[in-house]
């Protein structure tokens, strides 16, 4: 062994370890500048990197809503400016851009982030600057925060509609597989809570690293336990391979309940049947639902504006209606002043969204959603069942010993987790 190859090797080793860090720290060019004094909104949604598949349609729907408002004369007589650099699925870039949008562009409202890890990464910056912030992804729930409006359905809403439905239909032995980070772990806790409340049996439970793409050992373990159904809270492009491998192993006879598949990454379109056959998603919206408002067609408008779009996902609909929610509150407040807009929002509001007539709960900043179970059949055609209106009951009725979180009464910047209330 020569010295030269020794040094080569040590360089290689340090290169391998540095790789993750350097890729994570990568940052590219910025977006358009704001300023100019008019009302400005910030949109930070991923159009490249690991979450671009889900983030792109969120960005598209937010832009669509704001452009519609501008075409109809703007807000309080002013045209809204948009600042929307691409955060590239990179949390440190999110932090940088969030600071820039708040301090330099002085955005009046911010829509940002796909994953819960991203939301938690920018939350301290949001809190420090008391920035009005709409987080629109379906998520684990529990965020009770002065200036944050998490308008997506929570785990209790999504899992609460789909888990009992599957237990009723197929039996009560459940195998849980979920992504190994805050969202997946807390979602797994929620399935455990539902199992305790209804006497279901959890026969297996596994949390899988986000970069895993091979599920053969998971599938063997599921085959060993023979559950009546699987609850899957897998996340991201890597984990989708589970559904492909499920088809290879003829496992589609075991139904899967999920809060993540289909409604976001539209796997039922991107994968050949039967990969997603008998997958049941607890959702507030999917493109296949169309537009439930009279005389409106959100799906057509969306594809007219973005002809190359892949899919109009659940999150994009949340971005869309929450822009209108904000616009209504601005009109009523008569100002873009964030504290005053928040005060109006905290009075609670009804809003007619493509997914149905929804209500913003002023105390918790969360939505009462129309939840439904979406099932993919053997051709991956989607049907909806079990429509039910579910409110943010965890924050409203369960935390703080049953008193709930009321942001109108007290200042909070916290996130409650199931173990605050339940023994999980």
């Amino acid at each position: 062994m020569t010295h030269e190859s020794l040094s080569r090797r040590s360089v290689l080793a340090s290169g391998a370890t540095a790789l993750g860090v350097s890729l994570a720290g990568c940052s590219g060019g910025g977006g358009g500048g704001g300023g100019g004094g008019g009302p400005t909104v910030g949109i930070l949604e991923d159009r490249s990197g690991n979450f671009q598949l889900n983030g792109t349609s969120k960005w598209q729907a937010t832009r669509l809503a704001i452009e519609e408002i501008n075409e109809n004369g703007g807000l309080l007589g002013e045209q809204i400016e948009i600042v929307d650099p691409d955060p590239q699925s990179d949390n440190s870039r999110y932090q940088e851009l969030t600071e820039r949008l708040i301090l330099q562009d002085e955005v009046d409202a911010l829509w940002a982030g796909y994953s819960s890890a991203t939301r938690e990464a920018i939350r301290p910056i949001i809190n420090e600057n008391e920035q009005l912030y709409f987080y629109t992804t379906q998520y684990e729930g529990g965020v009770c925060d002065n200036t944050i409006f998490p308008v997506g359905a929570t785990a209790r809403q999504q899992l609460g509609i789909v888990t009992p439905y599957l237990a009723e239909e197929f039996g009560e032995d459940i195998y849980i597989i979920a992504a190994d980070y805050n969202f997946g772990q807390l979602s797994g806790d929620w399935v455990n809570v539902l199992a305790q409340e209804n006497d279901y049996n959890i026969v297996g439970e596994e949390y899988i690293p986000l970069d895993e793409t091979d599920f053969s050992s998971v599938i063997n373990r599921i085959q060993d336990e023979e559950p009546d159904f699987i609850m899957s809270m897998l996340v991201g492009a890597n984990h989708e391979n589970f559904y492909a491998q499920r088809a290879t192993n003829n496992l589609e006879s075991i139904p899967i309940g999920t809060s993540t598949a289909m409604a976001q990454g539209h796997e039922h379109i991107r994968y050949d049947p039967p990969a997603l056959t008998n997958v049941y998603a607890g959702v507030s919206y999917m493109e296949e639902l169309g537009d439930l408002r009279e005389g409106e067609n959100f799906v057509e408008d969306f594809y007219e504006r973005w002809p190359d779009a892949n899919y109009l996902n659940q999150e994009a609909q949340n971005n869309y209606f929450s822009v209108y929610l904000w616009a209504q509150a601005v009109e009523e407040a008569g100002t873009f002043d964030q504290q005053e807009v928040i005060s109006v929002l905290e009075e609670g509001r009804d809003i007619s969204a493509p997914s149905g007539d929804l209500t913003l709960d002023g105390a918790t900043h969360h939505m009462e959603h129309e939840m439904r179970v979406a099932r993919a059949d053997e051709n991956h055609d989607i049907s909806f069942a079990n429509n039910e209106r579910i409110g943010p009951s965890f924050l409203r009725e369960e935390v703080e010993g049953g008193d709930g979180c009321d942001l109108r009464e007290e200042d909070k910047t916290t996130q409650y987790v199931p173990s605050d209330v339940y023994d999980v």
Binding site: R8, V11, L12, P209, D214, N220, D224, E240, N241, N250
Partner: protein, 307 residues
């Protein structure tokens, strides 16, 4: 918070077969992910951080013709050709400026990786439809395993290693290529066109990356512009553990790493499987600083010296 780990499989003849298939699956993946990188690093001293994107070009080169109606095996040839052509272009324009400039080659190829994945995003959008794995599964007792992943791909992996061994030890090209790597000046003096040797060796490494991409196109799940990273960690860990010799190093590293990965996944779940793989890499770096193949070389030399 619950600290749940997956329930271990109960030991039985069937579950041991499951373990064997998991090992083969992991072995095939590590060999195929590594071999192109190992050749370019081991023979040329270039650390190709764009290795994952070379594989990705193999994936796209397969998926695009497949979705246009070309049968999968033919489409796979398209993937190999695409990666090879790309490799030759990159070698002639970029990499040939970086021979024996390790750190510079890392920065240049990393930049290349960013460019490739962003271009794929811009040109082909955020994802291509996925391809179903061929060949179905084999069932035994309560279990089943994918024939493609757990039988076919490991066989291809072994065939690739055997083929490379023959190429580099049994052909005139192989001898010239090794001479170029050992001592380029003497090789040139003997009339070997070393520039051409570098290009051809780089092309072989690229072709193997393309082959990996082509083979994993139907076993990858989603096909998105950032999937290159899927292969990168295993490939780098295996090259570090394997050491300087391409074939012995890749084979031994893949063998050792997949035993730990498969057993860990089998007994405790995928998380522990991944942790064990990285742990073995750390221990190997400490205990065998020259990698497994370096250790074997040293041992052989010591034995010769004793005789």
């Amino acid at each position: 918070m619950i600290a749940a780990t997956a329930a271990p499989l109960t030991f039985s003849a069937y579950s041991l077969i499951a373990l064997l298939f998991q090992f083969l699956n992991s072995f095939g993946f590590i060999v195929l992910a590594t071999v192109g990188l190992a050749i370019i690093f081991g023979m040329m001293g270039v650390i190709n951080l764009a290795h994952g994107e070379f594989i990705l070009i193999g994936v796209y080169g397969t998926a695009l013709p497949f979705h246009a109606g070309v049968p999968l095996p033919v489409a796979m040839i398209g993937g190999v050709v695409a990666a090879t052509v790309f490799g030759v272009l990159v070698e002639r324009t970029i990499v040939n400026r970086f021979y024996d400039r390790l750190l510079d080659s890392m920065v240049a190829t990393w930049g290349l990786a960013l460019v490739v994945s962003q271009l794929l995003l811009i040109v082909f959008g955020s994802s291509l439809d996925s391809i179903s794995a061929p060949m179905g599964s084999v069932a035994y007792g309560p279990f089943s395993s994918s024939i493609y992943r757990s039988v076919f791909l490991p066989l291809v992996a072994v065939a690739v290693l055997v083929g490379l061994y023959a190429l580099f030890t049994r052909t005139e090209f192989g001898i010239k290529a090794r001479a170029t790597i050992e001592d380029p000046e003497t090789a040139r003096a003997m009339g070997i066109d070393t520039d051409r040797m570098y290009t051809v060796t780089f092309a072989i490494g690229s072709a193997l990356a393309g082959l990996t991409g082509a083979l994993y196109a139907p076993a990858l799940g989603s096909i998105t512009p950032n999937r290159g990273s899927t292969f990168l960690v295993e490939a780098f860990v295996a090259v570090v553990v394997g050491g300087p010799s391409v074939i012995v190093g890749t084979l031994s590293a893949a063998g050792v790493l997949s035993v730990f990965n498969a057993t860990g996944s089998f007994l405790f779940g995928t998380f522990i499987g991944q942790m064990l793989l990285l742990l073995v890499a750390i221990v190997a770096l400490r205990a065998l600083p020259n990698g497994i193949s370096g250790y074997l070389d040293d041992w052989q030399q010591r034995r010769r010296a004793e005789e």
